[in-house]
C-alpha cells in the first residue's frame, strides 16, 4: 500500500474511533502534546494506561470475589480507573466506570459484576482499536511518511 493510501486509512480509522465514542477529545489533546522531542508520547502513555488499568481490573475482580465485598475499596479502584481512562480519552471505558460506581453505591454485588464485565469489554475494545491505530502509524512512519496531526473535524 502506498503512503498516501496508508495515511488516508489512518485518518479514516481515527475518525471512526471518535465517531463511535471510543475515543474523545482528550485523546486528541494527547496527540497534540506529542512532538519531535517526544515522538512516542502517545504510545507510551497509552501503554502505561493499559498496564495500570489491567492491574486495577484484576484488583476489582478480586475484591468482588471476596466473601464480604468491600465496596469502598472497589469504588476507589473504579474511581481511579475512571480518572485514568478519562485522561487518555478512553471515553467508553470511562462511561462504564461511571455506571460501575453507581452499582457500588448500591452495594449490589451482582450489579457490580455485571458492570465489571462491561468495563472489561470496553477496555478490551479500546485496547484493540488503539493497537490497530498505532500499527497503522508505524507502517506509515516505516514507509517514510509522517503521521498527520489529528484534527477533530466533526
Amino acid at each position: 500500500m502506498e503512503l498516501g493510501q496508508m495515511q488516508g486509512r489512518l485518518a479514516e480509522y481515527t475518525r471512526s474511533l471518535y465517531m463511535e465514542g471510543i475515543l474523545d477529545a482528550q485523546f486528541l489533546q494527547l496527540q497534540q502534546l506529542q512532538d519531535e522531542s517526544n515522538p512516542d508520547f502517545v504510545v507510551e502513555v497509552v501503554s502505561l494506561f493499559f498496564e495500570d488499568s489491567e492491574k486495577l481490573l484484576n484488583d476489582i475482580a478480586r475484591a468482588l470475589d471476596q466473601q464480604s465485598v468491600d465496596f469502598k475499596r472497589v469504588d476507589a479502584h473504579v474511581h481511579q480507573l475512571k480518572g485514568s481512562s478519562a485522561s487518555v480519552g478512553a471515553q467508553r471505558v470511562k462511561d462504564a466506570c461511571v455506571a460501575f460506581r453507581n452499582c457500588c453505591e448500591e452495594q449490589n454485588v451482582e450489579g457490580c459484576l455485571r458492570c465489571l464485565q462491561q468495563v472489561k469489554q470496553e477496555h478490551y475494545l479500546v485496547k484493540n482499536k488503539l493497537e490497530t491505530l498505532f500499527r497503522l502509524e508505524q507502517q506509515i512512519v516505516a514507509a517514510g511518511g509522517s503521521v498527520p496531526m489529528a484534527e477533530m473535524t466533526f
Binding site: 489533546q29 502534546l33 502513555v45 495500570d52 475512571k82 480518572g83 485514568s84 478519562a86 485522561s87
Partner: protein
C-alpha cells in the same frame, strides 16, 4: 497545540495586572513556574507532566503524598505551586493540602475525576485555590500561574496595608480565596485584580517581591505565640493588630497575622466537631492535670493550649505557658494566662492537629523559640534547675523538644546552650513519660526550663508530665502534660515561666494533636518537640513546629515513647529516632521539619512514625535548636534552619551541646529573627 502562544497571550494579559510594575520577570513568567504534581495514578501523572512541560513550567512529579511533603519541606522555596489529586492511597489529598497550606503556604490546586459538589466544596474549605476535574485539559493548566500571582499579591497587599482594615482584610482574604476557587473565575480574578491594581501604587515592591516574596514561616514557636495571643484576647476578639502587638515579633506584619488567623479559624472550625472548642476543653484537661501542673508561667502560649487541651496541662499551666509563649523572654512568669478557650485544642487528643501544627509553626517565628532553654530534657530536677537558669535566655526556646525524647534533650541542650548548658532540658521528655515526671516534682524547671518543658509533654506518662509544674519558681512551669498517653500533653510545656522560656511551646503537647498530621512543624520540629516524646503516647504527629521546639507532632505516641527520654543525653534519642523512624527518618534540613515531615507523613496513622519523625526532627531540631537557642541570636526565631541536618548531625550537635561545647548553631542556620523566607503565613 501551541502552548507557547497561549502562554504568550496569557503573559500579556497578566502584564496589565499584577506585573504592572514590571520589575518581575513578566516576559518569561509564567514560564519556569515550578510546579509539583502529586497523583498516584501513573497515567495521569505522566500526562500532566507532559502538559505542564508544554506550558513551559518546571515540573516535578511525584506519586506519593509523603514524598511530596518531604520534597516540599526540603526545598521550602523550591516550588511555586502544587497540584494534587484528591484520592490517594497513602494520604488524603485534603490532608496534604492542609499541610502544605500551613507549612509552606503555597497555592494548591486539587484535582479529581470526582466532580461532585461536596468534594469540590471540601477543596474550598480546606483552602485549595482551585479544583480541576479530570481529565485535565491543557488549557486549564495554562492558567494556573494566576494562583501564584494572586497569592503573592495578597501577601504584599497585606504588607502594605498593615494596620488598616484589620477585619476588612480578614474578610477580604477569605473572599478572595473563595472568589478564586473555581478555575473559571477569571472574571472574578480580573475584577479583584482591578481592585488590587488600584493599590498597586503602594505596592511598588510588588514587582520585585511578587515573585520572591519572603514567606513568613509559621514555626511552632511562632504559632504558639500566636495562639497564646489569640487566647489572651479571646478568639472572638482577636484581631490581627492586637495579636501582632501581643506577639511582638519583629518583622511580622499584621497581614501575616491576619492570614494566619484566618487559617487558624478554619482549623478551629474544623476541630469544633472534635474538640469542644475553647476552654471547656481546656478545663477538662486541666483538671486532670491541675494537680500536676503548677504554675506555668509564660509558657509558650502555643503549646500551652494544646497541652491544656489535652488535659495535660492544667489550665493554669497552660496559661502560664501561654504567657510564656506570648511573653517570650519577657516572661510572664507567673502570670497564668487564662487559658483561653482551647481553641488550641489542637487536637491533643485527637488528631486534629492541623491546627496545632500550624500554631506551632507560628510560634517561633520571630523569636527563636527556645523551647527549652534550659529545660533539661529529662527534666530531672536538677536539670530543671539548670534550665531554669539558662532558660532565661533561651526563653524562647521552647524546648519542646520532646520529640523523641532523646532528642529533645539535645535540643534543649541546644537551647540551653546559649544559656547555660546545664539546662538542657530533657526534652526528650517525650519519651514516655518523660523524665519530667520524675523531675516534675522539682521546680527545677526553673525558668529556663519552662521552656524546656516542652518536651515534657511528650512524656509518655501523662501523669508525669505534670510534675513539672512545680518547677519553676519562675513560673515557667513547664507543665508537661505528660499525661496524655495519647496526647502527649501536647505540650505540657512546663515551660517555666521564665521569661526566657517563652516558648515552651506547650505545643509540644499539641503535638498530639498534631498528630495526625504532624504538621510538619515546619521544620522546626525542633527538638523542642520534646513533647513529641510525650506524644509517644499520642499517636499524634508531632507537630514539630518550626519552633522546632515543638514537636507537637502528635506523636504517635509510641514512637516517641521510646525516645522521649528526656535525658540530657539527647543524643541518645537520636538513635532512637532512627529506630523509630520507620523509614521516616528524614534528615530534614529543617530539623523541625524533618521531624514533622516524617511524622506527618506517617501521620496517616502512624503514630509511630511520629516518634521517629520527631526524632528526626529532634535531631534536626536539635541542630536547629542550637541555632535558635541562641537567644541573642535572636534571629533564630525562625527556627527553621535551612540546613539539613541529618540525624547524625543532630546527634553530634546534641552531643556537643551536652558537652557544653556547642556553639550556637546559628551560623548554620540562617535564622535571623524571622526568616522571612520560610515563613508561611
Amino acid at each position: 497545540m501551541n502552548p507557547s502562544n497561549g502562554k504568550g497571550s496569557i503573559a500579556t494579559a497578566s502584564s496589565s495586572g499584577a506585573w504592572k510594575v514590571g520589575d518581575v520577570v513578566p516576559d518569561q513568567f509564567p514560564a519556569g513556574l515550578r510546579v509539583l504534581v502529586v497523583d498516584d495514578d501513573p497515567t495521569c501523572l505522566v500526562i500532566l507532566e507532559k502538559m505542564l512541560r508544554a506550558c513551559l513550567y518546571a515540573v516535578t512529579k511525584c506519586n506519593r503524598a509523603e514524598i511530596a511533603l518531604s520534597l516540599l519541606r526540603e526545598n521550602k522555596n523550591g516550588f511555586d505551586i502544587v497540584i494534587s489529586d484528591v484520592h490517594m492511597p497513602d494520604m488524603d489529598g485534603f490532608k496534604l493540602l492542609e499541610h502544605i497550606g500551613l507549612e509552606m503556604d503555597l497555592p494548591v490546586i486539587m484535582m479529581s475525576a470526582d466532580d461532585e459538589k461536596n468534594v469540590v466544596m471540601k477543596g474550598v474549605t480546606h483552602g485549595a485555590c482551585d479544583y480541576l476535574i479530570k481529565p485535565v485539559r491543557i488549557e486549564a493548566l495554562k492558567n494556573i500561574w494566576q494562583h501564584v500571582v494572586r497569592k503573592r499579591k495578597n501577601e504584599w497587599k497585606e504588607l502594605d496595608q498593615s494596620g488598616s482594615l484589620e477585619d476588612g482584610d480578614r474578610q477580604q482574604k477569605p473572599s478572595d480565596e473563595v472568589e478564586y476557587s473555581s478555575s473559571a473565575n477569571e472574571g472574578n480574578w480580573k475584577s479583584s485584580k482591578k481592585r488590587k491594581d488600584e493599590e498597586e501604587d503602594i505596592e511598588d515592591r510588588d514587582d520585585t517581591s511578587t515573585l520572591k516574596k519572603p514567606r513568613v514561616v509559621w514555626s511552632v514557636e511562632l504559632h504558639q505565640q500566636f495562639v497564646a495571643a489569640v487566647n489572651q484576647l479571646g478568639i472572638d476578639k482577636a484581631v490581627p493588630k492586637k495579636i501582632l502587638e501581643l506577639m511582638n515579633v519583629p518583622g511580622l506584619t499584621r497581614e501575616n497575622v491576619a492570614s494566619h488567623l484566618q487559617k487558624y479559624r478554619l482549623y478551629l472550625r474544623r476541630l469544633s466537631g472534635v474538640s469542644q472548642h475553647h476552654s471547656s476543653l481546656n478545663n477538662s484537661f486541666i483538671s486532670a492535670q491541675e494537680a500536676t501542673f503548677g504554675s506555668m508561667s509564660s509558657l509558650n502560649g502555643l503549646d500551652l493550649q494544646t497541652l491544656a487541651v489535652t488535659g495535660q496541662l492544667p489550665a493554669q499551666s497552660l496559661a502560664t505557658l501561654q504567657a510564656a509563649g506570648l511573653g517570650r523572654p519577657t516572661a510572664k512568669s507567673g502570670i497564668p494566662m487564662p487559658l483561653v478557650d482551647q481553641r488550641n485544642l489542637f487536637s491533643f487528643e485527637n488528631p486534629k492537629p492541623r491546627f496545632g501544627e500550624g500554631q506551632q509553626q507560628h510560634l517561633s517565628s520571630s523569636k527563636p523559640v527556645n523551647l527549652l532553654h534550659g529545660i533539661p530534657t529529662t527534666m530531672e530536677p536538677k536539670q530543671l534547675a539548670n534550665l531554669h537558669q539558662s532558660a532565661q535566655p533561651l526563653g524562647n526556646m521552647n524546648v519542646q523538644v520532646n520529640a523523641h525524647g532523646g532528642h529533645s534533650s539535645s535540643l534543649l541542650m541546644q537551647m540551653g546552650q546559649t544559656q547555660s548548658r546545664g539546662q538542657i532540658l530533657n526534652e526528650s521528655a517525650g519519651s514516655h513519660v518523660p523524665r519530667l515526671p520524675s523531675s516534675v516534682g522539682h521546680p527545677a524547671i526553673s525558668n529556663g526550663i519552662a521552656g524546656g518543658v516542652i518536651g515534657i509533654n511528650g512524656i509518655g506518662d501523662n501523669s508525669r508530665g505534670i510534675g513539672y509544674n512545680q518547677v519553676r519558681p519562675t513560673s515557667s512551669m513547664l507543665s508537661f502534660p505528660m499525661n496524655h498517653t495519647s496526647e502527649l500533653a501536647s505540650n505540657s510545656f512546663p515551660l517555666g515561666s521564665t521569661p526566657g522560656i517563652s516558648n515552651i511551646t506547650p505545643k509540644g503537647a499539641f503535638q498530639d494533636e498534631i498528630n495526625s498530621e504532624i504538621k510538619g512543624s515546619t521544620g522546626f520540629g525542633a527538638s523542642y518537640d520534646i513533647f513529641n516524646d510525650l506524644h509517644q503516647q499520642k499517636s499524634q504527629n508531632w507537630e514539630l513546629h518550626n519552633v522546632g521546639l515543638q514537636f507537637s507532632a502528635s506523636q504517635n505516641a509510641n514512637r516517641l515513647q521510646g525516645n522521649l527520654d528526656i535525658s540530657p543525653s539527647v543524643l541518645v534519642r537520636q538513635g532512637y529516632s532512627s529506630s523509630q523512624t520507620s523509614g521516616q527518618n528524614r534528615n530534614v534540613s529543617d530539623i523541625g521539619r524533618a521531624v514533622f515531615s516524617g511524622v506527618e507523613s506517617t501521620q496517616q496513622g502512624n503514630t509511630q512514625i511520629i516518634g521517629q519523625q520527631l526524632n528526626n526532627f529532634l535531631v534536626d531540631n536539635s541542630v536547629r535548636v542550637k541555632a535558635e537557642s541562641i537567644p541573642d541570636a535572636g534571629s533564630q526565631s525562625i527556627l527553621f534552619p535551612e540546613n539539613n541536618f541529618g540525624q547524625e548531625d543532630l546527634m553530634s550537635a546534641l552531643l556537643k551541646q551536652q558537652q557544653g561545647g556547642i556553639a550556637p548553631a546559628e551560623s548554620e542556620f540562617d535564622l535571623d529573627g524571622y526568616s522571612i523566607d520560610n515563613i508561611p503565613v
